[in-house]
């Protein structure tokens, strides 16, 4: 079925100081299709979408809507043209109600700008019903789960008479059940004639949902094809321009002596956690959201207060009451959210790399910058961090490279125990493999890793042992041989 | 766009540059008048008097003041800057009677005569630094306080409870008025000062402080405020307490608004200092000094008590 394109972006380029982010990209969107935008982190997907949604101005190129050239001046203008975006980080105001959020800035008013609360709620209820959602429109948004909040964003977009809906990694924070619900909504929207641009790293979703796919690589559009006519390996090849024969590296480490032991660890959210970790081992921690996995990492790292129990590092009982003490014990923590917890975005790559270990380069309170520079150079090389210089602000790096900077921080602090909390969230296939390889190399050097992850294939593919957590306790332990998706999932779900 | 801006800037500079020529020519003598502040009626009247004299005598008068009355540092900066601007003579109402001394020293060193207006310079501090002033022009605040005290004592029949609103402590003006008032009250032992608190020369603080005094001493019969602004604040506090006419209010400075209050009866009396005369005399004497004439080292501007009887005759 060939129809004239609803949207045509041709030869779009965008430059930032020192960076060519987009290089003559072509992109086309048909009426009522789900068009998946695929590419590694830093390939230019977000930049392209920000141009379409008016957040950025293009440096050159043409945008046509319904065959008419338009220049999108700002986000408001994009909205008026019927283009809405749902970002990864949702833009809702937690203290307002669902209805108020949906109509923020466009509240129906009776007279003298007194808001007509009833009309507001009524209109919101109708919109939500259309999406198959049965929540009370006057409920506060902060009470909703992430999936429901996303629905509110969708409803908001619909209320704007959206023709083009951009969704940036909508499933990254959703459970399996919620994803199904979201997909049902997307199909309904599609039937209603809305065109959807869908950005995702998850190839499975693409095949389940997409009509066509456009692959971006290094700021260029590599290919556009019908989903039905392509395959996973081909897409991966297009994205990274190399065949990925095996996602997970063959583990080479030999498991050595015990390095960390927890005995009866109890905090406000954890009960009686005991396990041990050995040199060269990857210990996977699986479990549903809210099972206490991040709390466990925080307890080991001295963020959560320990109420009972004991932590032993290399056989010695240690009281870890602050991150500083954890670091002194040789522990490094790669947090789930690198932007708010892992990095100081306004500081440079070098300054971030050395943040936990400035002491090493300091004498009499003064930082020896040459020594520091040498160390940073080493880690940039070792981790292949792509940055023009040490002085580059870390906020200018792509997501994958930022993650590597976080990793470098802990390498620099000479950690021997790494806690990875969702190490590959929001990271593309190529960078994922790179991170797995790094984990393998680290363990080969005798480092021990605790890996918290929601992606079962990753847990099963990388771990030597798997612990499953459920409501603040350890619900089961599996060796690499015993662990299967079914067993782990069953253990995590069991009431 | 950028070029246009630069062009405009250049034109502006050229235009102003032409104007600058006048500055260098001999012209009339440049006299600077530095007041405590420019946003208080007392000093506004002083400024008017000074400007009138300047116009009459053909003097190029520059009036400057700090934003806040008590900002001694800013006042010192202004004096320093005016010394740089090479004024011929300086008239100053000191924000602080001791803190002004370093500034006087600087003017002395630059050979610029200083006429002090309204607030006296601390004699000790001045002699310690071997500073010199050309003249002091002002009224006797101590005498004014005394006149107000005597009036109040007579008005209350030599008996009663009195409250006092003080100025900022450590201020020569306020301190002198206060001492004069206390001296007068001492003569009538049956008059009791039940409360004496600062309202920092300000009207809104006069309101708040007197409201608080009314809470703790509901039987207070009279209030003396060291300035009219504080007195007017007290008048409003009395009105808010629905006690208008029951409490005798005496102020100081004879501001236009205070005179009106005396006329209407919400205030009983105010001490007239005539700031306009001070400003006028200051500029006049500075001018005579520059012409090489001798001037008196101390010029007193007479004090007068304004009451309902004489308010209209002013």
């Amino acid at each position: 079925m060939e129809t004239a394109p609803l949207l045509k972006m041709s030869q779009i380029s965008k430059t930032f100081p020192g960076v060519l982010a987009l290089d003559k990209v072509d992109f086309e969107l048909r009426r009522g299709e789900v068009h998946v935008l695929l590419g590694e982190n830093g390939a230019g997907k977000s930049t392209l979408m920000k141009i379409l949604s008016g957040a950025y101005q293009k440096s050159s190129g043409e945008i046509e809507l319904d065959g008419v050239p338009v220049s999108i001046k700002n986000p408001r203008h994009a909205q008026d043209l019927g283009i809405s975006t749902i970002y990864q980080e949702l833009n809702l105001i937690p203290h307002l109600s669902i209805a108020e959020n949906i109509f923020l800035g466009r509240e129906p008013s009776k007279f003298a700008s007194v808001i007509d609360q009833r009309a507001l709620v009524r209109a919101a209820r109708e919109l939500l019903k259309g999406l198959g959602l049965t929540v009370d429109p006057s409920a506060r948004v902060k009470r909703l789960g992430i999936a429901e909040q996303q629905m509110v964003e969708v409803a908001k977009a619909l209320s704007l008479e959206t023709r083009i809906l951009i969704m940036d990694e909508p499933t990254s924070a959703l459970s399996q059940q919620e994803i199904k619900q979201l997909f049902a909504t997307i199909r309904r929207l599609k039937e209603g004639g809305v065109s959807i641009i869908y950005i995702s790293h998850r190839l499975e979703e693409l095949f389940e949902l997409g009509d066509r796919v456009t692959v971006l690589r290094d700021g260029r559009s590599v290919a556009t094809c019908e989903v039905a006519e392509t395959s996973k390996p081909e897409l991966i090849r297009l994205m990274v321009n190399r065949e990925l024969t095996e996602q997970f590296p063959k583990r080479q480490a030999t498991i050595g002596e015990e390095i960390l032991r927890l005995e009866g660890l109890t905090t406000s959210g954890l009960r009686d956690i005991s396990f041990s970790l050995h040199k060269g081992e990857v210990l996977g921690i699986a479990g549903l959201m809210g099972a206490g996995r991040t709390e466990l990492a925080q307890a080991i790292f001295g963020v959560e207060k320990i109420e009972a129990g004991q932590i032993y590092v290399k056989g010695k009982a240690r009281r870890i009451t602050s991150p500083r003490r954890a670091i002194n014990c040789g522990i490094g923590f790669l947090t789930e959210d690198r932007k708010s917890q892992g990095l100081v975005l306004r500081l440079s790559v070098g300054e971030n790399l050395c943040l936990p270990s400035v002491d090493k380069f300091t004498s009499w309170g003064m930082v020896d910058r040459n020594k520091e520079k040498l160390a940073c150079r080493r880690y940039i090389q070792e981790l292949r961090i792509r940055t023009p210089s040490l002085k580059q602000k870390v906020s200018f790096l792509s997501g994958g490279n930022q993650q590597k900077v976080v990793l470098g921080k802990w390498l620099c602090s000479e950690a021997e125990i790494f806690i990875f909390d969702e190490p590959t969230r929001g990271v593309d296939v190529g960078a994922k493999t790179e991170i797995y390889e790094l984990m393998d190399r680290l363990t080969a050097e005798g480092v021990a890793i605790i890996m918290i992850s929601s992606e079962l294939p990753e847990v099963l593919g990388m771990s030597d042992r798997v612990l499953v957590m459920r409501s603040g306790e350890i619900a089961g332990e599996f060796s690499a041989n015993e662990a299967t998706q079914e067993r782990v999932l069953q253990c995590a779900l069991m009431a | 766009m950028k070029k246009l801006l630069i062009m405009m800037l250049l034109i502006l500079i050229a235009l102003i540059g032409c104007q600058r020529g006048g500055d260098r020519a001999g012209g009339p003598p440049k006299i600077a008048f530095v007041m405590k502040t420019a946003n208080n009626p007392f000093f506004i009247e002083m400024q008017k008097g000074a400007e009138q004299a300047a116009q009459r005598l053909g003097v190029n008068l520059i009036v400057q003041a700090a934003d806040r009355e008590v900002d001694v540092e800013k006042q010192m900066q202004i004096v320093e800057n005016l010394i740089q601007a090479k004024v011929a003579a300086l008239c100053v109402t000191p924000s602080g009677s001791r803190e002004i001394v370093p500034a006087i020293d600087k003017a002395n060193r630059a050979g610029i005569p200083v006429v002090i207006v309204d607030t006296r310079v601390d004699e000790k501090a001045l002699s310690e630094s071997h500073g010199k002033i050309a003249a002091f022009i002002g009224s006797d605040n101590y005498e004014g306080g005394k006149v107000a005290g005597e009036f109040l004592a007579k008005r209350l029949g030599g008996k009663g409870k009195v409250a006092v609103l003080e100025g900022i402590p450590g201020h020569e003006t306020g301190d002198s008025r206060l001492r004069g008032f206390r001296e007068a009250i001492k003569a009538t032992p049956e008059i009791q000062i039940v409360a004496s608190q600062t309202a920092n020369w300000e009207r809104d603080q006069g309101f708040n402080v007197f409201q608080n005094i009314l809470q703790s001493h509901p039987d207070v019969q009279a209030v003396f405020a060291c300035s009219d602004l504080m007195a007017l604040g007290a008048v409003e506090a009395i009105a808010a307490a629905k006690k208008t006419g029951q409490i005798v209010v005496v102020g100081f400075d004879a501001l236009a608004e205070a005179r009106k209050a005396v006329e209407q009866g919400t205030m009983e009396a105010t001490v007239a200092q005539s700031p306009a005369t001070m400003g006028e005399l200051a500029v006049e004497n500075a001018y005579r000094l520059l012409k090489g004439e001798q001037i008196k080292p101390e010029i007193t501007v007479p004090i007068k008590l304004i009451t309902k009887e004489n308010v209209t005759s002013q």
């Binding site: 306004r346 210089s389 | 520059i62 001694v72 010192m76 803190e99 370093p102 310690e128 900022i168």
Partner: protein, 323 residues
């Protein structure tokens, strides 16, 4: 990827573009005043302006540290007054000069540390903690002195304000020294690094093992220390320590910091900008006095300059001229 040399040089310019912008603002201001009045560009007037800038400039150093951590210190002016009267009464009590100076500096530092502890241990927002300290320090100074200024000091002490070395007033030399030290501390020491890191992302810094509470407390202590130092210079300058000294200095210090390009959100800026900011304010006041502009108009002009400076800064940022 581009060759490293070019990227680095570009980086240097990008890094300092903001300060260059402020500096050119100061130069333009100077140029305009030079045209408008013959009294501006003389050695004695320039030294005069520099001396007038010292008090605010020194207070603003502490303010810059605090604002870099994304905090604010409203108490600097009151702390200045308190430290001043403590030092002055020590002098009047016959204490040896170094001891009295130390008393002033310690008083300031202690007030600052209390601010820091209220913020870190007491978990008060900086605005509230320092607002409280502003009132407490002022009130204590007034009680301590009974509201009266303490004045009249030895020539030795007054030399701190009246002395000159090669015609340069001592306060100006002190100011330059302080800025050199502060620049060094911010760029080369651990304390400086952590100051930026805390302002950029406090949580990430904490999770990197930095004792955030300790360093924040130290930073507020520094603000108090600089207030104490400014108190010494101000007292020497006026030959009097007033309990009501330094009112609204906090706002001037914040203005100097912001004009100098330090972001109120923290993590961005440096002290060189602040020095230029303080000089701009002093030059502006000086120029307006020289020109005999009315004191009402002066307030309007100074306020407008602050707004315009920040507007230009933000416009440049949006255009991506520098980061």
């Amino acid at each position: 990827m581009r060759p490293n040399g070019i990227a680095l040089r570009q980086n240097f310019l990008l890094h300092h573009a903001r300060q260059l912008g402020t500096l050119s603002g100061l130069l333009v201001l100077g140029l305009v005043l030079w045209v408008l009045t013959p009294h501006f560009l003389t050695l004695s007037n320039l030294l005069n302006v520099a001396e007038q800038a010292t008090i605010i400039a020194i207070v603003a150093v502490g303010m810059t540290f605090v604002i870099l951590t994304a905090g604010i210190d409203l108490s600097v002016g009151s702390v200045l007054a308190f430290a001043g009267v403590v030092m002055a009464s020590a002098l009047h009590a016959g204490a040896p000069l170094p001891f009295a100076l130390l008393a002033g500096l310690v008083t300031g530092t202690v007030c600052g540390l209390v601010n820091g502890l209220l913020i870190t241990l007491g978990r008060l927002p900086p605005f509230i903690a320092t607002l409280g300290m502003m009132s407490v320090a002022r009130g204590t100074a007034l009680m301590y002195t009974g509201g009266r200024p303490i004045s009249g000091f030895s020539e030795n002490f007054r030399w701190l304000a009246t002395g000159e070395v090669l015609r340069v007033p001592i306060p100006v030399i002190v100011m330059i020294g302080i800025y050199a030290i502060a620049f060094f501390v911010l760029t080369r020491t651990k304390l400086g690094r952590y100051t930026y890191a805390i302002g950029g992302n406090e949580e990430a810094t904490h999770l990197s093992g930095v004792n955030v509470r300790f360093y924040k407390t130290v930073v507020y202590g520094l603000a108090g220390l600089f207030s104490g130092l400014a108190a010494i210079l101000l007292t020497a300058r006026l030959n009097s320590a007033q309990p009501i000294a330094g009112m609204m200095y906090e706002l001037d210090a914040i203005a100097a910091t912001v004009i100098g390009g330090t972001s109120l959100l923290g993590g961005e800026g440096n002290v060189l900008g602040t020095l230029i900011g303080a000089l701009i304010m002093a030059v502006l006041r000086n120029g307006l006095n020289l020109l005999g502009v009315s004191s009402f108009l002066q307030q309007v002009v100074i306020g407008s300059v602050i707004i315009v400076a920040v507007l230009i800064d933000m416009a440049l940022k949006r255009r991506g001229k520098y980061s």
